[in-house]
C-alpha cells in the first residue's frame, strides 16, 4: 500500500524541459517553479487563488500555480511566461501588450499573458470572452481596458 510521506518525487516538463526533483509534499507549484527551477517570471500575488498573477498553463489549460501542490503536476506539461517569446522575438501577444501600454508595474502581467495565450490557442475570442476569462486576474495599474485591447488585437493578428 502507498505510504504517506512528507516528501515526494516529481517529474514534470516545464517549457519543454524535463525536470525530476524530490520536494516537500506541501510545496506549491508556484514555489517550485520559482524557488526550485528559478523560473521567477511567474509571480505570487496572493497565495490564495484570487489575484491570478501565478497563472501558468498545465497541459495547455490555465491554472493558478499557487493553488496546486507541485506533486499534482506530476507527469504534466507546464508552460510559463518564459516560454512565450520565440528566440529573441516577443510573441504577438507580448508585442500587443507593449503597443497598448497594457502593463505598468508588470507584476500581474505573466498571469494575464498565460491565460490570454490559452484563450488565443483555443480560437478566436470575442471581447466578451476576453473579459470573462481575464476577470480572473487583478491588475492594479492599468484599469484593464488596454489589456482587453491588446488581447483583441493579438486575436485579430492570429486570425489574419
Amino acid at each position: 500500500m502507498t505510504q504517506p510521506s512528507e516528501h515526494v518525487s516529481v517529474q514534470v516538463e516545464v517549457n519543454g524541459r524535463r525536470y525530476q526533483r524530490s520536494v516537500m509534499a506541501r510545496l506549491t507549484l508556484s514555489d517550485f517553479l520559482r524557488d526550485e527551477l528559478g523560473l521567477t517570471g511567474t509571480k505570487v500575488g496572493c497565495e490564495h487563488g484570487v489575484c491570478g498573477a501565478c497563472t501558468v498553463l498545465i497541459d495547455n489549460e490555465p491554472a493558478r500555480s499557487c493553488l496546486m501542490l507541485t506533486v499534482q503536476a506530476n507527469g504534466k506539461q507546464i508552460r510559463t511566461v518564459e516560454s512565450l517569446a520565440s528566440g529573441r522575438e516577443m510573441s504577438p501577444l507580448q508585442a500587443c501588450f507593449q503597443k497598448h501600454h497594457a502593463l505598468q508595474c508588470g507584476f500581474c502581467t505573466a498571469g494575464f499573458l498565460m491565460s490570454a495565450t490559452a484563450l488565443l490557442e483555443e480560437g478566436q475570442p470575442t471581447r466578451e470572452d476576453i473579459v470573462e476569462t481575464l476577470s480572473g486576474h487583478y491588475c492594479r495599474c492599468t484599469g484593464y481596458s488596454p489589456i482587453i485591447d491588446a488581447v483583441e488585437e493579438a486575436a485579430a493578428k492570429e486570425s489574419s
Binding site: V81, Q98, H101, C105, G106, G143
Partner: protein
C-alpha cells in the same frame, strides 16, 4: 528666497509629447523583471512575523521555546530583543496640533491593533518560519478596544496611552467672513460623509532583504520602497548603521500607490537580524499581512456645508474632517495627512469661495495605522465637495455643469482663502469640455427614455485641482513642513550615449521612458542612446520620494538641469568646431546644427568623441567633464486640474452599479507621453471605482479585521473596467521643465465623487441621496424600493 536648483532651463519639445513605447516592457513581458522575491542571496534566511490577534490587549506572556527548538528555526525575537536596538519609530505630521507617537518594532507589553508584530521567527525557509510562528504562544489580557474615531475624541479609554485623549491631530482655521456667508445664504447644502477604509493593494506586497558584512560594516537593504533615501536615513538615525556603508536598493516594484512610501518596522528589524545573525534575511509579505498591516488608507468622517447665494454661487464652506487613524502615526505621512489635507486644502477646490471654516482632527483607534494611498487627503475632500455640488445642482434645479460654472475660478493667478496661489489652470474649460463630451442634453433624453422602461442610468461629474510636483514651496504654501529636492546625474560617454540616474524610484509609472524623452530633447540624441536608472540604489543621487504626483516634474527638472550642463558643453564645443556663435547652435536629430546655415553640422557622437579624445577641438578653458549631477525643487507650487464624468447604470433587481462610460479631462500641462498619462488616468479611475463600489476594510465590534483575504476585500476586476474617452488640455506651468505638471493621483482623487454623483443621479427619482463610499448594492436597492 530663490535658489539655483529651482530654475529649470527651457527645452524644445520633440520627443516630448510623443507616444513612445516603454523600453522596460520587453523585459517585464518576458518574465525577466527582478522583483524583491525574485532576488536570492546565498545563505539567506527567511523571516515571518507573529502578529497580534487582539485589537487591544496586554501581553502577559510570550512563549518562544517551542519555536526556537524547531528544526530549521535560527532565531526568535520578541519586543524586548528589538527594543535593545531601537525603542521605535517616531511619527508625526509637521503641522499645528499634531502629537507624536512611537511605534515599536515589535510590540512590548501592549498590542494596539490586530496584525501588530509581536515576534519574528527566522528560519531556513519561509515554510519553516511559518511553522515556527505557529509554535509561538502569546497570552493576551484584553483591554477595551477604541474603534470609533469621533466618540474616541470625546473621551473614554485610550487606544494608545501616548495619546491619552486619543487626539493625534487637532487644528483648523477660520478664513474670511464665514458667519456672514452662512447667515446670508439663500441655501445651505450640507451632509455628513463617510469615506471607507481602503487598502492600496499593490499587486506586489511589501518585502525586505537585508544583508550585512561585519568586516566592512556594510549594510545592503533591498525594499520596494517609494522613498529609499528616507529609509536609508532612518537606518542611520534609528539604528546607527554608518551612513556611508548603507545602501538601499530598489528592485523592480509591483506598484506602490503610496503604501510603499512609509518606513515600516519590518524594514528596521531585518537589518538588525541580518547583523546579529550574520546571514542575509528575507521577508516577503503575504497578502493577508498586506491587507492587515501595510497601512490602511482614506477613512474619514466628514461634516461639510456650503453656503450658496441666490445666484447659486458658493460663498462659504464649513468642514470638519475626522480621520480614523489607527494606533500609531506611520512615518512620514502619519494619520494626520489625510484629514489635514481634506480640511485645509480641498474644500474650495476650483471654486471662488471667499470664506472657509476648516477643522481637521485625527483620532487614535485600535486599528491598523492609516497611511498614504494615491490622492491622500484629496480623494475624500474632492468626494465631499463635488458631491455637495451635485446636491446643490439638484436643489437649485441647475445642471451639474451650470452649478459649477457659477462658482468656478475664471481668472489667474488666483489666491484661495487659505492663501495658496494658483498660477494658471483650465478649470472652466474642463467643465465645458466634459459637458461637450457627455452630450448632456442627449444624456438626459436617454435617461428619461430608459427610466420609462424601468432602467436607471445616471450621470456624475467631478472636477478637481491637484497639487502636483510635491516640493518645498508646496509645503510652505500649505503651512506644512518638509523640504524636498531630488538629484539627477546625466553622463555622456565617448560614443554619445547617455546614462541618466534619478533619485526617484519607479513602481510602474514609466519614468525610464519619460525621462529618456526629456534627455533626448535636451541633448538631441536618439532614445536608443539613453539609459535611465531610476534610483535602483541610494548610491546614486538623492530623492525625496515618488509621492505627491511629483515623479515627472521633479525628476524631469533635475534631469533637465543636469542634462543642460552637458548640452552647454556640447554647444560650446560645436560652436568652436563649426566656427559659429553658441547662441546659433541647436542640438537635434543626433547633431549640433547651426541655425540658418544648412549643412553646417557636427554629429553628437563626434562631439562626444572629441570631448574625450581630441583636445585640439576644444575651445579655450574647456572642461571635459561630461557628467553632471544637479538638484531640482520647483520655485512655486504646481497644480494640475481636470475632471471626470461618468455614466452608471443601477440594476433594479440587485442594486449592482455598472459604470458604462468614463469621460476624463486632464490638464497636466505639457504632456511628456500621452500613453503614460492616459495609463495613469485609467488606472487611477478604476481604483476610484473600486473605492466607490467595492473596496472596504471592515472591523467587527471587537476590533478584528474581517477582510483579511482578497475573497473579502474586493478590488475591481476586468468586468468592472469601463470604456474611457480621454481629452487632454495643456496649460503649461510657467516654471517647470517644459511646462509639465504631475498627474499620477488625479484619477483616484476625482473618480469616486463622479461615481457617487452618478449613482445619486440614477436614484434622483427616489429622493435618496447617498453620502458614503463604498456604495453598497443594498443601499441602492433600498433606495430603488423606497
Amino acid at each position: 528666497m530663490s535658489f539655483p536648483h529651482s530654475q529649470s532651463p527651457s527645452i524644445a519639445a520633440r520627443s516630448i509629447g510623443a507616444r513612445v513605447p516603454r523600453g522596460d516592457d520587453p523585459r517585464l513581458l518576458t518574465g525577466r523583471g527582478q522583483y524583491l522575491a525574485d532576488i536570492v542571496l546565498p545563505g539567506e534566511l527567511h523571516a515571518c512575523f507573529v502578529r497580534s490577534s487582539a485589537a487591544h490587549a496586554r501581553i502577559t506572556r510570550v512563549s518562544i521555546d517551542e519555536a526556537r527548538a524547531l528544526d530549521g528555526v535560527v532565531a526568535v525575537w520578541t519586543g524586548e530583543d528589538a527594543a535593545k536596538f531601537c525603542e521605535g519609530i517616531v511619527g508625526e505630521l509637521e503641522v499645528e496640533g499634531c502629537f507624536a507617537t512611537t511605534m515599536p518594532l515589535l510590540a512590548r507589553d501592549i498590542v494596539r491593533y490586530v496584525g501588530e508584530p509581536v515576534a519574528v521567527v527566522v528560519a531556513e525557509s519561509r515554510y519553516v518560519a511559518e511553522d515556527g510562528c505557529d509554535l509561538v504562544d502569546v497570552d493576551y489580557e484584553p483591554l477595551e478596544p477604541v474603534l470609533h474615531p469621533r466618540s474616541a475624541l470625546e473621551g473614554g479609554p485610550s487606544a494608545n496611552e501616548e495619546l491619552p485623549d486619543n487626539v493625534a491631530l487637532r487644528g483648523g482655521k477660520v478664513l474670511g467672513d464665514v458667519e456672514g456667508a452662512f447667515n446670508n445664504a439663500a441655501r445651505v447644502i450640507e451632509a455628513t460623509f463617510h469615506s471607507g477604509r481602503l487598502s492600496a493593494g499593490p499587486m506586489e506586497t511589501r518585502g525586505v532583504i537585508a544583508s550585512y558584512d561585519w568586516t566592512s560594516r556594510r549594510l545592503r537593504l533591498w525594499t520596494g520602497s517609494q522613498m529609499p533615501h528616507y529609509i536609508k536615513y532612518c537606518l542611520t538615525a534609528y539604528l546607527g548603521f554608518p551612513e556611508n556603508e548603507c545602501e538601499v536598493l530598489t528592485p523592480d516594484t509591483g506598484g506602490g500607490f503610496g503604501q510603499k512610501a512609509h518606513i515600516f518596522p519590518e524594514e528596521m528589524l531585518l537589518p538588525l537580524l541580518a547583523r546579529e545573525l550574520d546571514r542575509p534575511v528575507k521577508w516577503v509579505e503575504d497578502r493577508r499581512e498586506n491587507l492587515m498591516t501595510a497601512t490602511h488608507a482614506h477613512e474619514q468622517f466628514i461634516d461639510i456645508a456650503y453656503a450658496f447665494d441666490s445666484d447659486a454661487r458658493a460663498t462659504g464652506v464649513r468642514i470638519r474632517a475626522t480621520g480614523d487613524g489607527g494606533a500609531y502615526h506611520q512615518p512620514p505621512w502619519s494619520m494626520g495627512v489625510e484629514p489635514w489635507c481634506t480640511a485645509m486644502v480641498t474644500p474650495t477646490g476650483v471654486y471662488d469661495i471667499p470664506a472657509a471654516d476648516l477643522i481637521y482632527e485625527a483620532a487614535a483607534t485600535n486599528k491598523t495605522p492609516i497611511g498614504a494611498y494615491r490622492g491622500v487627503g484629496y480623494m475624500a475632500g474632492t468626494l465631499v465637495r463635488e458631491c455637495l455640488m451635485d446636491d446643490a445642482a439638484r436643489a437649485f434645479e441647475l445642471s451639474p455643469f451650470d452649478i459649477r460654472r457659477r462658482s468656478v475660478v475664471r481668472e489667474f493667478p488666483w489666491t484661495n482663502p487659505q492663501g495658496i496661489v494658483y498660477d494658471e489652470g483650465s478649470w472652466l474649460q474642463t467643465i465645458d469640455e466634459l459637458e461637450r463630451m457627455v452630450d448632456y442634453t442627449a444624456f438626459r433624453e436617454r435617461q428619461a427614455a430608459l427610466r420609462a422602461e424601468g432602467r436607471f442610468i445616471g450621470l456624475g461629474l467631478s472636477v478637481f485641482v491637484e497639487s502636483s510636483g510635491e516640493s518645498t514651496a508646496m509645503g510652505k504654501a500649505h503651512d506644512l513642513g518638509g523640504i524636498y529636492h531630488d538629484t539627477a546625474t546625466v553622463k555622456m560617454e565617448p560614443n554619445g550615449s547617455v546614462t541618466v540616474t534619478i533619485g526617484l524610484t519607479t513602481q510602474g509609472q514609466g519614468h525610464r521612458t519619460t525621462m529618456a524623452q526629456v534627455v533626448a530633447d535636451s541633448l538631441g540624441v536618439p532614445l536608443e542612446a539613453i539609459t535611465v536608472r531610476a534610483a535602483e540604489s541610494t548610491t546614486y543621487g538623492w530623492g525625496s520620494g515618488t509621492v505627491g504626483s511629483r515623479g515627472a516634474v521633479i525628476a524631469g527638472g533635475a534631469v533637465l538641469r543636469a542634462s543642460n550642463v552637458i548640452r552647454t558643453k556640447l554647444v560650446a564645443l560645436a560652436a568652436s568646431m563649426l566656427e559659429a556663435d553658441p547662441a546659433d547652435i541647436d542640438l537635434v536629430d543626433g547633431a549640433a546644427v547651426v541655425l540658418g546655415v544648412p549643412g553646417s553640422s557636427v554629429s553628437i557622437i563626434d562631439l562626444a568623441t572629441a570631448v574625450y579624445f581630441d583636445q585640439s577641438a576644444w575651445p579655450a578653458d574647456f572642461d571635459p567633464t561630461l557628467e553632471a549631477t544637479l538638484a531640482y525643487d520647483p520655485a512655486r507650487p504646481i497644480f494640475s486640474n481636470g475632471g471626470h464624468a461618468m455614466i452608471v447604470e443601477v440594476a433594479p433587481d440587485t442594486g449592482f452599479v455598472t459604470v458604462e462610460k468614463v469621460f476624463s479631462v486632464e490638464d497636466c500641462g505639457t504632456v511628456i507621453n500621452p500613453d503614460i498619462v492616459e495609463g495613469q488616468i485609467r488606472g487611477g479611475v478604476v481604483q476610484g471605482i473600486g473605492a466607490a463600489l467595492l473596496e472596504r476594510l471592515v472591523y467587527d465590534d471587537s476590533g478584528q479585521l474581517v477582510t483579511t483575504t482578497l475573497l473579502d476585500y474586493h478590488m475591481p476586476s476586468m468586468d468592472f473596467s469601463p470604456p474611457f474617452e480621454i481629452h487632454h488640455l495643456e496649460t503649461p506651468s510657467s516654471h517647470t521643465p517644459g511646462g509639465i505638471k504631475g498627474m499620477g493621483e488625479s484619477g483616484l482623487i476625482a473618480a469616486p465623487a463622479a461615481v457617487l454623483n452618478a449613482v445619486n443621479d440614477a436614484l434622483s427619482h427616489t429622493g435618496t441621496v447617498l453620502h458614503n463610499i463604498p456604495i453598497t448594492p443594498e443601499q441602492v436597492l433600498r433606495a430603488l424600493r423606497g
